[in-house]
């Protein structure tokens, strides 16, 4: 933390947000306990996790990957830790069980 928060005098009255779009600055994923760990070798790139994530926290990256069985994919999936709330829906829905929910490492 360490960030200085506004005093009551500095805040716009009534909680009005005068700089629209600032929700981008609000990292909503800071209270998760578990985070998805995606096994890029097992993953079949079906995109179901990307569809079901309620927080758009599954990122589809233009990153080439060659699996341990030699199959080449043009894309990879990754988790946006800033916005993932750890709900586990991606792991639940993954048809090949390529996603495991693991405890978040606390520094």
């Amino acid at each position: 933390m360490g960030e200085r928060l506004l005093s009551y005098k500095e805040m716009p009255i009534g909680g009005v947000i005068v700089n629209p779009g600032n929700s981008l600055e609000y990292k909503t994923g800071d209270w998760k306990v578990l985070i998805p760990k995606i096994n890029q070798d097992t993953c079949i790139r079906c995109r179901i996790c990307w569809y079901v994530c309620p927080d758009n926290a599954i990122k589809e990256l233009d990153r080439e990957y060659i699996t341990n069985k030699g199959r080449k994919y043009k894309i990879s999936y990754d988790v946006d830790a800033d916005f993932c709330k750890g709900c586990g829906m991606c792991a639940q829905e993954c048809p090949v069980k390529a996603i495991e929910m693991v405890p978040v490492e606390v520094e």
């Binding site: 928060l5 506004l6 009551y8 805040m11 716009p12 009534g14 909680g15 009005v16 005068v18 629209p20």
Partner: protein, 394 residues
């Protein structure tokens, strides 16, 4: 009491006096639902709108919850907005009351005070208003139809002031005032608008300058926003006083924020509001002649509570009889105002003896002899450990 300029006065009940104030203030939006005994306020306003005497959007809603919700939305677009209610309607608005003050919307609402169900009672007491006292609104009690008209005008002037930006309630007694005809001077739009020109909500919704109104506030922010409300309502007191003084200069009628009537030579005071204050003003001269050294402490501004004035008027008296027309069930005193007075007494180190009286519940009739009995009780003093439920059959 203010002298009525008889030549200009016309007969109006308080409901119609308020409707006329709304017309003279050129209110842009009225959002309301009918409820006894308030109904004729909005009935009269809709008539003004239908006749083209008031160019306003009249929103017919399906409940008071919606009435106040629509009024808030209208207010944040920058429209001068009005609503009115009573009793169950005010109770149904309860969650929205807190939203109106939390969003700092400069709304004005009139409340024709009425008892709450159950059992169903359409008659007057102040249970509805006192149930809403902690919702963060400025609250003024009017004791005449003229004062109600004048207070609505004063209210728009101070709620739209950038130093205030809070909603306000103008409260008066259902039936005893809402349906009682009195002489009222109305000032007309030109003079009224000159006194209270429209000043809009500063963050009003504008596509050119987008803002978000009503977002969530997490624990790191909520507290400061609530504290802003504390500062705002406390800070509104001198502005309310200032507006009243300016009003008096302009129209010749001023009320102050708290009134002490026949207090000179009084050992004891009866603290009350609205129609009971008007009744006491009529009866007190006679009671004084009969040897009761009693005056009237009329509560006009209730939120913020005019503590300094209260101390000024009560520092040398022996007894303060507080009349409550609402019940605070299970509280130390069962009169909500008596409890506040007890708190103020301790806070300010005042020496008077408190007599807590509950009366007029469900519009139980109070005649001259009943007010005399209260004046006698105040005059005689003596310790009353418990709240006196005046007139209840035991």
């Amino acid at each position: 009491m203010q002298a009525i300029e008889s030549k200009r006065a016309r007969p109006l009940n308080t409901n119609h006096a308020i409707a006329n104030a709304v017309k003279d203030l050129d209110v842009d939006v009225v959002s309301a639902y009918p409820i006894t005994p308030q109904t004729t306020v909005v009935e009269k306003i809709s008539e003004f709108v239908a006749k083209g005497e008031l160019e306003a959007e009249f929103i017919h809603v399906e409940s008071e919850h919606s009435a106040l919700s629509a009024a808030i939305s209208s207010s944040v677009t920058g429209a001068r907005t009005f609503t009115a209610t009573a009793s169950q309607g005010l109770a149904l608005m309860h969650e929205i009351l807190h939203i109106a003050s939390g969003l700092r919307t400069p709304l004005v609402m009139s409340v024709a005070m009425r008892s709450l169900s159950a059992p169903i009672s359409i008659w007057n007491d102040q249970g509805d208003l006192f149930n809403a006292r902690d919702a963060g609104w400025i609250i003024l009690f009017a004791h005449t139809a003229q004062e109600a008209y004048d207070s609505v005008i004063q209210a728009y002037k101070f709620v739209e002031d950038e130093r205030v930006l809070l909603p306000a309630i103008i409260a008066y007694d259902g039936y005893l005032m809402s349906h009682t005809i009195e002489p009222v001077v109305t000032e007309g739009r030109e003079r009224v608008i000159k006194f209270a020109p429209k000043r809009h909500y500063p963050y009003r919704l504008d596509p050119q300058k987008p803002v978000t109104i009503g977002p969530i506030a997490p624990p790191e922010y909520y507290y400061e926003l609530k504290y802003q409300q504390v500062k705002a309502i406390n800070g509104s007191l001198p502005i309310i006083e200032e507006v009243d003084k300016d009003f008096e200069k302009e129209f010749g009628r001023g009320y102050g924020i708290m009134e002490c009537y026949m207090c000179e030579g009084a050992d004891s005071l009866i603290m009350t509001n609205a129609s009971y204050a008007a009744s006491l003003k009529a009866f007190l001269p006679e009671f004084r002649e009969q040897g009761l050294k009693v005056g009237l402490l009329r509560l006009r501004l209730y939120r913020p509570f005019p503590l300094k004035k209260f101390v000024e008027y009560t520092s040398d008296i022996k007894n303060l009889l507080v009349v409550d027309r609402a019940i605070s069930y299970g509280a130390p005193y069962q009169g909500p105002l008596a409890n506040e007075v007890a708190g103020a007494k301790v806070k300010e180190g005042l020496g008077f003896n408190i007599i807590s009286v509950v009366a007029g519940i469900g519009q139980r009739r109070m005649d001259r002899e009943d007010f005399y009995a209260l004046a006698r009780m105040a005059h005689e003093g003596g310790r009353h450990e418990e709240t006196v439920f005046y007139g209840v059959r035991e």
